[in-house]
């Protein structure tokens, strides 16, 4: 896929980010340069049949039990928009 303004805008939308119009061209040229560099990996022969499960570490797990918890007030203390005991956001479900 060519690296152009359209691609950068698509990726910024996926990332829930807005890039200032004045900076878009810089983002396009930096993106192009970085992706060209990363393509260096195409030179590495891929002889392995490893799949994702082989490569991603098997992390430790523990029982799903409650060990300690923050109070409701503590959980809400850094939220700018709150309503009583809840985080507040714009309504996401339309009324019928």
């Amino acid at each position: 896929m060519p690296v152009d303004k359209k691609l950068v805008e698509k990726i910024s939308k996926l990332s829930r980010l807005n890039i200032d119009e004045s900076k878009i061209n810089d983002f396009v040229s930096n993106f192009e340069e970085i992706l060209n560099y990363i393509d260096l990996l195409e030179q590495v022969p891929d002889n392995s049949n490893q799949n994702e499960e082989d490569l991603i570490s098997d992390y430790a797990t523990r029982d799903d039990s409650i060990i300690e918890k923050l109070s409701n007030d503590e959980v809400l203390m850094n939220a700018k928009n709150k309503d009583g005991k809840f985080f507040a956001v714009k309504k996401v479900i339309d009324e019928e």
């Binding site: 560099y37 490893q50 490569l55 956001v89």
Partner: protein
């Protein structure tokens, strides 16, 4: 104020000074120098002074605590990426400029038990993404050796503060060199432990499979003391290894080793990348000196290490794009009034676009691109395969050597602004530090020498996974051989 942990402990024992007197001195130094350096994001003046006064009384009533606990009363700082309950933690970002932690990071919890003194929080690249501390929302930190140059990054505030004598030590984090490169640029010691040695709980995540906390300090012994106190199992980090804390300081103090006991590997081909001439000359002289002292030095091959930067700049942004998706302005972080936006999507976009700086946006977008439909195999999966090849290169090399030596950085500390608009150039400066992160190895930077322009040059020593003991013995041996004692004017 260029005191080591050991110096301060001795000073307390001899009653040369009390914790409150020492803290006052550090606070005056910070006032004097930090307006220019900008190495701290916040200094806890009142809090640390009253803590120190309490420790004065404890020592007066029973000073045996100083024998059993060498960190007692040691004034340190933390990179502003570690949560400390009730204090602001910004991670160098506008996104978290008002964020108050409601619990302690494991690293701080471990340090708190020792009764060390927390002077403040150090500046850093935004969300630890950078190699110069120029991406911080708090403005750039300067290098005390030359105020026109960067201190390195992302733990640049930690390195600058320790180098300038504004803290005895600091704890930083290293994802692709973020402890070792600033330690090198500022002429101090910086240790990245093996992945999994130190809990990441309460440390704001950048790239979870690579991030690791470690000390920036004045000597190898000090790095051992701090590693011993922050390492160990923590059930709250699923990647933290189920191992007891290290015991490196006691091992070092036995003094029962000699550099000749170890075989040192040099990755000559990797060093053909175009090292700065002065760095190459200084590194080569050290190798000659080692050989003439009877140390066994052998050439090693790391054939895939040249792909490290490309591998890293796929894996780290992919993980960052996922980790930083939590910053949507709902539960915490920069947030607009939700009543003034059209819908939830606009709310997210507005919060994230206003809260993140350009480098963070670039990396989130790179990650989302590499993980987007149809690209996963070509990028993330391929990068993880190459990562395994790099691990296997190191495993082969470590069949014949105990440690691997190289300069820490291919270049001297660069000028402020020199690379700010050229991200790829900035990324390539991490070529010598990234391999240890990908292979999860412990790696340390110690000062090697000064350039003709009085800029520090760092020496990197990388060890076998989980063998911090051998790594620190070799580093201590080299430190004694090199005898670096210069301090910056700034």
């Amino acid at each position: 104020m260029y005191k080591t942990i050991e110096d301060i402990n001795k000073g307390y024992k001899k009653k040369d000074f009390k914790p409150s007197e020492l803290v006052s001195e550090y606070l005056s130094e910070i006032k004097l120098k930090d307006q220019k350096l900008n190495s701290y994001t916040e200094v806890f003046e009142d809090l640390v002074f009253s803590h120190a006064q309490n420790l004065d009384k404890e020592i007066d009533s029973d000073n045996s605590i100083l024998d059993s606990n060498i960190l007692f009363g040691i004034p340190i700082a933390l990179k502003d990426i570690f949560l400390v309950k009730d204090l602001i933690c910004t991670s160098g970002s506008k996104m978290l400029e008002n964020y108050v932690s409601n619990y302690d990071s494991k690293v701080y919890e471990s340090l708190k038990i020792t009764s060390c003194l927390l002077l403040g929080k150090n500046n850093m690249d935004e969300f630890a993404m950078g190699s110069s501390t120029e991406t911080s929302y708090h403005g750039p930190t300067l290098n005390p050796w030359d105020l026109n140059r960067v201190p390195g990054g992302s733990s640049g505030g930690s390195a600058s503060a320790v180098a300038a004598g504004l803290a005895c030590a600091s704890i930083g984090t290293d994802t692709g060199g973020s402890i070792r490169q600033p330690a090198s640029f500022c002429g101090i010691v910086g240790l990245k432990p093996s992945y999994g040695r130190v809990s990441r709980f309460g440390m704001i995540a950048f790239s979870s499979s690579l991030d690791q906390a470690g000390p920036l300090c004045r000597t190898v012994k000090d790095s051992a003391i701090l590693l011993d106190s922050i390492s160990g199992y923590d059930s709250k980090d699923s990647t933290c290894l189920n191992l007891p804390p290290t015991n490196c300081y006691t091992e070092l103090c036995k003094n029962d080793f000699n550099l000749k006991d170890f075989t040192i590997g040099i990755p000559s081909k990797l060093l053909d990348i175009g090292l700065d001439r002065e760095i190459k000359t200084n590194f080569d002289s050290l190798i000659k000196e080692l050989i003439s002292n009877g140390v066994k030095v052998v050439d090693i091959e790391l054939p895939n290490a040249k792909y490290s930067v490309a591998t890293y700049y796929i894996i780290a942004p992919c993980e960052a794009s996922s980790n930083l998706s939590r910053f949507d302005g709902v539960r915490y972080g920069h947030s607009t009034d939700y009543k003034n936006v059209k819908d939830l999507e606009e709310f997210y976009i507005k919060n994230r676009s206003e809260g993140f700086g350009d480098e963070v946006k670039r990396r989130i977008m790179l990650g989302n691109y590499a993980l987007s439909s149809g690209y996963y195999d070509a990028y993330y999966l391929k990068a993880n395969k190459v990562k395994e090849m790099i691990v296997s290169d190191f495993n082969s090399a470590f069949n014949n050597v105990d440690c691997i030596l190289s300069p820490t950085c291919p270049e001297l500390p660069f000028n402020l602004g020199e690379k700010k608009n050229d991200p790829l150039k900035m990324y390539l400066s991490d070529i010598l530090t990234i391999p240890a992160n990908l292979a999860q190895l412990p790696s340390i930077s110690i000062p090697l020498s000064l350039s003709k322009n009085n800029l520090p040059i760092g020496l990197q020593i990388t060890g076998k996974k989980l063998d911090e003991n051998t790594l620190l013995k070799v580093a201590n041996g080299l430190e004694n051989l090199i005898g670096f004692s210069a301090t910056p004017k700034g």
